[in-house]
């Protein structure tokens, strides 16, 4: 045993740290299980926290042995990246900021450093310093990996939600036999108008709609780009054999369109969805007759 230790003193400090982490992984995992980061995430059982800690220590040891303590892309980290992201997400859900998570990560370092100092108390000061530095760098890299994983996970969530929002925000409503309507709400950008166009055209095919109504009551502003998107949608619907009506043009928007000099003469427009529906029904040959039995006085 002493011989082995002497031999290790000659080796690279990073490798020595790796060997140390492997030897003491149970002890480290036990200590980490009591640290805030693991304790708050693995609330159900302490064993889970110990298991999680052990996995991280093993990953660290693998990275240290490979000598890439500064490299966040080191192969050893891939195993724990997902686990770290989950842990960080759990903390974030609990209301912790990134800075707090980072601090909790940092709190994992002292127990390991203490163990290392204990173990190497006999070693020459120079060697001790090198090993501590390697360990500190390694823990810093782990912190970086965790924060990176957290950011990526957050970005993925945002992307997924954006896609969901695109789909949710463009419902196609069947108003009557052969009449479909899309109420547009919110700003129309290129990506959204593409989705609107696709869903509307698919609905035209599915419902055998001869008339499609694009209601822009919920669109706050209409600029030349939005107008262009609308005209494209109208043209595409016409190519498929459906007539397209743009409704819900508020006076302010009509004014803007005229000011911008946008030519919407190729597009059939109506002031309100009700007007558009009335026109569409008329085109379909349906007439709305007031019921004489109704008690409501006609206007």
């Amino acid at each position: 045993m002493p011989e082995q230790q002497v031999a290790e003193h000659e080796t690279d400090p990073a490798e020595e740290v790796g060997a140390f982490l492997r030897r003491r992984r149970e002890q480290i995992a036990q200590r980490w299980a009591d640290a805030a980061l693991f304790r708050t995430v693995y609330t159900v059982s302490r064993d889970d926290a110990v298991d999680a800690g052990r996995t991280v220590v093993e990953a660290l040891a693998a990275v240290a042995v490979s000598g890439r303590v500064q490299d966040a892309e080191a192969d050893g980290f891939t195993v724990v990246r997902e686990q770290l992201a989950r842990t960080a997400q759990a903390r974030a859900r609990a209301g912790a900021t990134i800075a707090q998570i980072s601090e909790e990560m940092d709190a994992l370092r002292p127990p390991v450093t203490d163990l290392l100092l204990d173990e190497l108390s006999e070693s020459p000061a120079e060697h001790l310093r090198e090993c501590t530095t390697a360990l500190t760098v390694l823990m810093g890299t782990l912190r970086l990996v965790m924060l990176e994983a957290t950011t990526i996970a957050g970005q993925e969530l945002i992307n997924r939600q954006r896609l969901e929002l695109l789909e949710i925000a463009t419902p196609v409503i069947k108003l009557w036999e052969g009449i479909v309507a899309v109420p547009l709400i919110g700003t129309l950008d290129s990506a959204r108008s593409q989705v609107v166009m696709e869903t509307l055209l698919d609905a035209v095919v599915e419902q055998h709609a001869r008339i499609a109504i694009l209601d822009i009551t919920g669109v706050p502003t209409v600029d030349s780009l939005v107008a262009q998107h609308l005209m494209k949608t109208v043209a595409a619907a016409r190519l498929m054999g459906a007539e397209c009506i743009v409704s819900g043009i508020r006076p302010a928007i009509a004014q803007t369109i005229v000011h911008l000099g946008i030519d919407l003469s190729s597009v059939l427009t109506r002031a309100s969805l009700a007007d558009a529906l009335a026109y569409a029904l008329q085109q379909q040959g349906a007439h709305i007759v007031p019921n004489p039995a109704s008690t409501v006085e006609p206007r």
């Binding site: 055209l201 095919v205 595409a236 190519l239 054999g241």
Partner: protein, 140 residues
């Protein structure tokens, strides 16, 4: 004989005459030579027999380019000269989007959801025409 006969017919688009309406069903890719042959066929058939409408069914077409767009508007312009209406029927959403993105909105072209709708559209005009034809027939 059959082997020799099939090769010129490869990609040949049949022009079917149903009463006063020509029905053309395009499927898959449209090659330059096929398109020219088709335009010629439609022109000759429309001129030879009293044709009031041409229905071009695009439901089997999934890929279009600007050439296809030009062929469609050429056919429409040509048949208009021969006193017939052209209706494009059953265009798929992806095709319509592509044509619009290419800037080919085909303003002079009439469109319908499917061939049935197209025939109904033409029928409305055909119904108006025979009166003139009958009047002409009755006058001598």
């Amino acid at each position: 004989m059959t082997g020799a006969a099939t090769s010129p017919f490869e990609g040949h688009v049949p022009v079917l005459r149903l009463g006063g309406v020509l029905l053309v069903t395009l499927q898959g890719d449209l090659y330059d030579s096929t398109a020219e042959q088709l335009q010629q066929d439609i022109g000759e058939t429309a001129a030879d027999s009293a044709v009031t409408g041409v229905v071009i069914d695009l439901s089997g077409v999934e890929i279009v380019d600007s050439f296809m767009g030009r062929v469609l508007s050429d056919v429409a312009a040509m048949t208009r000269l021969l006193a017939a209406q052209t209706v494009v029927a059953g265009m798929r959403p992806a095709v319509a989007i592509t044509l619009v993105e290419l800037g080919l909105t085909l303003p002079g072209l009439r469109t319908a959801l499917n061939t049935e709708e197209a025939l109904r559209l033409l029928g409305a005009e055909v119904a108006a025409l025979p009166r003139a034809g009958r009047a002409r027939g009755e006058s001598p």
